[in-house]
């Protein structure tokens, strides 16, 4: 029934570094004294706090509500008191701060009464979507896109295929594999709920070839029509676009979304969270996090969302004094500067990697290794030269924005060039430029409208001028009526804003490294 799929361009075989964790159980970690909730830890607009400082809350109580269509709800991970709503360090390469709700645990860990389970036999997609939104579920594989938005878009576009992505293609990360072994029934239930919410005719659960135990745990149960597929352990097989290519044979259009290929993809942990929300009435307040690398006891920890990362490292023991802390995998993760930054819903891994030996970068020798491994089939060496030269048009023409920043090119580069760094820098520069151009165009059209108004005013009476002015003012009004196109635009804008935030510090950083290399 399960065959190994083949076929996405490029990719690279990485050391797996997860053998010690595959097959071992998860372990819980003591409740930290403080839980920290950034209001912006997902794609979309920041959540809006609904609690005040000094307020007592119980576990699962709503702390912040979604502020727009693309936003998320945040719930308390334990019982305690809100002590602060202020700027705190968050997971960001530049070590920036963001508004966070800080909860002091009272140690009693009292819960709210869970919401009643929904009857799947009678639940409508709308009811399921509402419950998933209330539970504050976002994509737990790393992107952090609000799950109910993805589902609604899929429902409206009548997608036929739901893919549950359990492909942990980055080294070290083993939390999904562990979660599937321990909660196979919940993953399958979540998949069933998601499929019902989407009205998708097919469901595929994608596992990596070396996840035998997880596969066995799923196969023992009633798959309810879902199909298990195995994908080769080649990075980045778990990338959304690569996995869709392998499973369906079709490609997501370059500037499109998976729904354009008739697919909605959810992470396996997201599916389990959906099962908790719908069948258990529980919001998302806990997840599994792999802690590995230079730690004494690598583990998959059951962690309350909001736990400071330093707390996880304390729990596992730091084994080398001089190490870099990476949140996420070693290929796409974020280097953490402030260990007090908290675990968020997308945090799947915390790594301590020994400090790298001094890397000497050489000029590009055009060996083409990057071309061979690029899963987006780009020309990384050409994009690098264009980004370095500041030729933004040239870089855009060579599809810079199709780069998924997987880092395969930089991993194999014999010249050890920080290629992804250059691409991010170029992207943020181009986005800033486009924003400035849009603003300039808007200003010009306003100015021209004013000139027209003044010209008309010169001919007509003062009342006529007022009339013309109100005509221009009234023009944008029809756009205020929400329609599908506008919602789609809002999603695109939200994704772009989030990406811009993530790379906000790169222009300065690129300049510094350039100087450092000389």
């Amino acid at each position: 029934m399960s065959t190994v799929l083949r076929g996405f361009h490029g990719g690279v075989r990485l050391p797996r570094s997860k053998e010690t964790l595959q097959g071992t159980g998860s372990r819980s970690v003591a409740l930290p004294p403080l839980l920290i909730y950034p209001l912006q830890a997902h794609v979309g607009t920041p959540a809006r706090p609904v609690v005040g400082v000094g307020q007592k809350v119980r576990r699962d109580e709503l702390l912040a509500a979604p502020s727009s269509y693309v936003s998320q709800a945040i719930h308390a991970g334990t019982s305690g008191v809100i002590v602060e709503i202020a700027a705190r360090a968050v997971i960001h390469p530049g070590g920036v701060t963001d508004t966070c709700i800080v909860l002091r645990a009272d140690g009693e860990d009292r819960r709210l009464t869970p919401a009643p389970a929904l009857d799947l036999g009678r639940a409508t997609p709308e009811g399921l979507l509402a419950r998933i939104a209330e539970a504050g579920i976002v994509g737990m594989g790393g992107a952090g896109f609000p799950s109910h938005v993805k589902l609604r878009e899929g429902l409206l576009n009548a997608v036929r295929l739901l893919i549950i992505n359990a492909v942990e293609c980055e080294p070290y990360i083993a939390c999904d594999e562990c979660m599937i072994r321990e909660r196979a029934a919940d993953v399958l239930l979540g998949a069933r709920i998601l499929r019902q919410a989407l009205r998708a005719s097919q469901c595929v659960i994608a596992l990596e070839d070396d996840m035998q135990q997880a596969r066995a745990a799923l196969s023992r149960r009633d798959l309810a029509g879902a199909q298990i597929v195995r994908v080769p352990a080649i990075y980045p097989a778990g990338g959304e676009r690569q996995l869709i290519r392998m499973i369906t044979g079709a490609e997501v259009p370059a500037h499109g979304l998976p729904i354009d290929a008739g697919v909605v993809m959810h992470n396996a942990a997201t599916a389990a969270a959906v099962a908790d929300a719908v069948a258990g009435g529980l919001p998302l307040t806990e997840r599994l996090v792999t802690v590995a690398g230079a730690v004494r006891t690598p583990a998959n920890l059951r962690v309350r969302i909001g736990t400071p990362i330093a707390h996880l490292l304390d729990a596992c023991g730091r084994s080398a004094a001089d190490a870099r802390v990476i949140v996420g995998g070693p290929m796409m993760g974020t280097r953490l500067i402030d260990e007090p930054a908290p675990v968020v819903k997308t945090t799947n891994c915390v790594l301590r990697l020994p400090a790298a030996a001094e890397d000497c970068t050489m000029p590009c020798i055009r060996c083409g290794d990057c071309v061979e491994v690029c899963p987006a089939q780009l020309q990384p060496q050409a994009l690098y030269e264009l980004a370095r030269a500041g030729d933004w048009d040239g870089a855009s023409d060579l599809h810079l924005f199709d780069c998924i920043e997987c880092g395969a090119c930089a991993y194999v580069c014999p010249s050890r060039l920080p290629l992804v760094h250059y691409y991010r820098h170029a992207k943020s520069e181009i986005e800033a430029l486009e924003l400035a151009q849009r603003r300039a165009a808007e200003l010009r059209s306003r100015y021209e409208a004013r000139l027209r108004r003044l010209a008309q005013a010169g001919d007509a009476a003062a009342e006529a001028e007022g009339q013309a002015g109100s005509d221009v003012d009234a023009a944008p009004a029809p756009a205020a009526v929400p329609d599908r196109a506008a919602m789609r635009a809002e999603i695109a804008a939200a994704v772009a804003r989030t990406k811009a935030r993530r790379t906000a510090n790169t222009p300065a950083a690129a300049g510094e490294d350039e100087d450092g290399a000389r």
Partner: protein, 340 residues
């Protein structure tokens, strides 16, 4: 905002361990069998020329790094100057005077490499450009190869190379098999008439063994994934296709495809010279096109040109075309409907 001293904060945070120096070390290792077989058949002059060219290339590289204010250690020992020196030394007639190889090596490093921006920026293959300079400026000296079977050993070689004792050179020199056949054919002779006189055989002088040794090293490079199959396969296919066409057209007036395959610098060119990454295309399809064209032009120059072998000029010609080839062979990007 705090930033760390030990490098870029951007992902990825791990690396495969590949390095430019590592790539060049493997290229040098793969050249070794061919170098030894060449020295066996052509005498110790081969090693002497490689030594002279390598020392001159390193000296010129060091001087240019110093002039340009670049870090000496990483660039001088990245292996690129050594590989260029070895390739140039292999191209030299073993008894050529020392200053010829030195001049070519200095030209290759100073003008072809560093004047264009150093490693990674040269448009042309430095070793071949240096060799081409000598072919153009000193054609007679560059044609004097030891005749097959001539005894040219240590004392003679040192005398010829360092004292520039032309009598010694003339005593042991003769045309290479390639030149012999081409000059003969141009003299309106039939191939059959040439055969008896051409030394031991047309594949004599160990050319076939030298080619087999470079083929072996090249296959090892392919297996180690230092080079990709497209350029060598294209080179050999282009060479065979054109030589076969000529041969089928008039077998009496054109050498056989096998002669082209196993003669001259075919395998050295296909696996070690045309595959220089910096000056060849980078797209997979572009590399195939590049290889095909180089192979085809090699045969045309050997048959219709003035020079002992066509590899250097064929590679240089196609180096100039590499950016154009790259431009027209870009692969389709994921999710895009058409290429451009």
């Amino acid at each position: 905002m705090q930033r760390d001293a030990d490098g870029v904060a951007s992902s990825p945070h791990i690396h495969s361990g590949a390095s430019v120096a590592g790539v060049m070390r493997r290229v040098l290792a793969a050249l070794a069998p061919g170098v030894m077989v060449s020295a066996w058949f052509l005498g110790p002059g081969v090693l002497l020329q490689i030594g002279i060219a390598t020392v001159a290339a390193l000296a010129a590289e060091a001087a240019m790094l110093s002039v340009r204010g670049l870090a000496m250690r990483p660039f001088l020992f990245d292996g690129t100057a050594i590989v260029a020196g070895v390739l140039l030394g292999l191209a030299m007639p073993p008894l050529a005077p020392w200053w010829l190889a030195s001049l070519a090596a200095v030209f290759a490093m100073v003008v072809v490499k560093h004047a264009h921006g150093g490693v990674g920026h040269n448009l042309f293959n430095p070793a071949m450009a240096g060799y081409a300079l000598l072919l153009v400026c000193f054609p007679y000296a560059m044609k004097s190869w030891p005749a097959p079977g001539a005894e040219a050993w240590a004392a003679d070689v040192l005398g010829a190379v360092f004292l520039v004792d032309t009598a010694k050179v003339d005593a042991v020199s003769g045309a290479t098999a390639l030149s012999f056949v081409r000059d003969g054919l141009r003299g309106m002779k039939m191939l059959a008439e040439l055969r008896p006189g051409a030394g031991a055989s047309l594949l004599g002088g160990g050319a076939a063994w030298v080619n087999l040794a470079f083929l072996g090293g090249g296959l090892a490079l392919l297996a180690a994934r230092v080079i990709r199959w497209q350029i060598p396969a294209g080179f050999i296919a282009g060479l065979l296709a054109v030589s076969l066409l000529l041969y089928l057209g008039d077998a009496q007036r054109h050498a056989s495809p096998l002669f082209h395959l196993m003669g001259g610098a075919t395998m050295l060119g296909a696996f070690f010279i045309a595959t220089d990454p910096v000056s060849s295309p980078v797209t997979p399809r572009g590399r195939l096109v590049f290889g095909l064209l180089v192979g085809a032009v090699v045969v045309l120059i050997r048959r219709f040109g003035q020079y002992p072998d066509g590899v250097a000029f064929a590679v240089l010609l196609m180096n100039a075309a590499a950016p154009l080839i790259d431009r027209h062979t870009r692969p389709r990007v994921y999710g895009e409907r058409d290429t451009r």
